[in-house]
């Protein structure tokens, strides 16, 4: 604790050092080996560089990935037809889907969580269902959604909805249920109506727990979108990853992975800021 106070630059420096070491190790590990072409030139023209030397195509180095990232950053919004759009557009599609499913989930989870949290009976009655539905993977929901909803884009939103609803629901219920008895008793002594108690006492008291649930949920929603889009295809960052996998283009997949991480971090930071707004000290 003392050290970071005295030298605030130390942690960033260490981060940078780790990054540089990783890049150096990566570069060394993927350095192209000098090998003579062992097949005739006619054959070599028909295959990739590595295959011409009798090897498998290699993992790309940091330089290639960097160049690829730069080429995507230069032109993020191109549109070359239905199946080939820029990364900016793909991220936009993914974000729209995530926010759609996530907001729907919040609209359902928070009121429902309130009801569950305020009544121990409902809590116990619904608990087994929640516990069973919570751990189901998005990919398991997808065939069911496609079969019943009969629309792939709504199915993707549904899968985000169903996967991101549980942390919000459970946290809301838990937050509401664990509001301090004293506060509720004070409200009752002052003859505050049930509705006012819910909005003016319970909601502020449970807000930090609810926000934590929402923060976990947005992370899950962002995890789910890549899997969902890889399956239904069409648009989005998940489709981009799938399309480049199809082309075995590790550099493009790497670019997408970094971008997915970056966007996920931004979403998480935004929710963390909101959590700080509603938190309080007892």
């Amino acid at each position: 604790m003392n050290m970071t106070k005295q030298k605030p630059w130390l942690a960033p420096l260490l981060s940078l050092l780790i990054l540089l070491l990783t890049l150096a190790a990566w570069h060394l590990a993927t350095r192209p080996k000098e090998a003579a072409v062992i097949v005739d030139p006619e054959y070599a023209a028909l295959v990739g560089g590595a295959a011409a030397t009798g090897a498998k195509s290699a993992f790309p180095g940091p330089g290639e990935v960097g160049a690829k990232i730069w080429s995507h950053l230069k032109d993020p919004f191109y549109d070359k037809g239905t199946n080939d759009k820029g990364l900016g557009i793909q991220i936009g599609f993914s974000l729209a889907r995530v926010l759609g499913g996530y907001l729907l989930a919040a609209l359902v989870a928070i009121p429902l969580g309130f009801a569950i949290g305020m009544s121990p009976l409902i809590y116990r009655a619904l608990d087994p269902f929640i516990q069973i539905l919570k751990p189901i993977s998005p990919l398991a929901w997808m065939p069911l959604a496609l079969y019943t909803i009969k629309d792939s884009s709504i199915s993707a939103i549904f899968v985000i909805f169903i996967c991101s609803i549980w942390p919000m629901l459970i946290n809301t219920a838990f937050g509401v249920a664990s509001v301090r008895r004293d506060w509720l008793n004070v409200a009752r002594t002052l003859e505050v109506s049930r509705l006012r108690t819910a909005f003016l006492v319970i909601l502020p008291a449970a807000a930090p727990t609810i926000m934590t649930g929402m923060r976990i949920s947005i992370g899950i929603a962002w995890l789910v979108i890549v899997a969902a889009e890889m399956l239904v295809g069409g648009t989005g960052i998940g489709y981009f990853v799938w399309n480049e996998w199809n082309n075995l283009s590790i550099t493009n997949i790497f670019t997408a992975i970094l971008l997915i991480g970056l966007v996920g971090m931004l979403l998480d930071t935004a929710l963390a800021k909101l959590t700080r707004l509603v938190s309080y000290r007892e």
Binding site: G54, K56, D84, G234, N247
Partner: protein, 449 residues
Amino acid sequence: MSIFRNPFDPETRLHKGCSCGQHSSQAAHDMELQAAQDRAVEGAVMRALFPDDNMRRNFLRSVGAGTALAAISTIFPLGAAKEAFAQTGGKLEKQKLKVGFIPITCATPIIMAAPMGFYAKYGLDVEVVKTAGWAVIRDKAMNKEYDAAHMLSPMPIAMSMGVGSNPMPWTVPAIENINGQAITLAMKHKDKRDPKQWKGFKFAVPFDFSMHNYLLRYYLAEAGLDPDTDVQIRAVPPPEMVANLRAENIDGFLGPDPMNQRAVYDGVGFIHMLSRDIWDGHPCCAFGASKEFVTSMPNTYQALLKSIIDATKFASNPANRKDIAKAIAPANYLNQPEVVIDQILTGTFADGLGGVQKVPDRLEFDPFPYESFAVWILTQMKRWGQIKGDVDYRKVARDVFLATDAARLMKENGFPAPEVSMKKVMIMKKEFDPAKPEDYLKSFAIKRS
């Protein structure tokens, strides 16, 4: 033409006459209709050129009709106008269509028809949408997100019979490609070229209901291996095949191109055998549409089928293959290096073992959906236990593979269409007679039923 007419349809006349009843045959009816249309176009052009009819008559008298026609043809494309008129056989019920495809070279006609303008030629605005796998393309087509789709030729049969999904009447208006698949093995097996040495291998095929599955099983069984017990065959989507081969999760696959050539390009595998060497001329992928689409939008269906037939005809000419490779290689379509697609389409390719092979018919395009193809597929579905009990081979084949329509439209587009829709074929030196499917089935030593 009459041999293609459905003798069980109360609307068709089998013996004499045409649909209007005034001609001796349907052909004569069509010819006169064509002539009448041509006259109408010529009349319209002449009226437009000569607003005053006296002027037209004087002009014709002074130069003669033949010279006049020639002169007018030089300034006005009469032939093209007549053709354009003939194509508007009826109003398109739907102009904007969505057609799904899997990014493999089998889909070449469906894909190239978009960038090369074959859909636009028939007044259609078609969006070709890349799709992640066969089950997804089936579900999207059944949910009507796609108006028509690229499918494996056994899929519409399985869908119509309700095998592996809900039953839904589906059709194959045209086959897309024949040949064009291959058995690719991992590099470490380059000395095991005899299938008898493959016991315990893990293979991938694109889908359970695929020609790949049936051809691989056929090939293994001919070598004495039971495909269900001696090896493992699993369904892996085409894009994941090379990645799995590289990771040594599988020993090989019978897969569609570009995956075979891509495995060679990346130094991961070698091409053991082209599928044409198992059955030369086998169908692979199909252009699939629901029965509902075919019957409720007949004009759109015809226009779509004509564009596909046109594109297939264009693709069947080896001289056009380089241009096609350039058109379909970009990220919007196949998303592969052009040199890979080029090798598949031209048939001059690296085999992965250091040799360059020249097999011009590695991949061929022929739209005609022989009903005998469907019968063969049914025998294999029954052979491996995908369907059980009695099968009305002829009826399923005729309901799903629309040979009659294809033959008519192929002829209209100037593509030679075969006269019969059933033909005997040789598969690995063993004859298949579509008239005797049950006998054929009984002749196999390794089978599940």
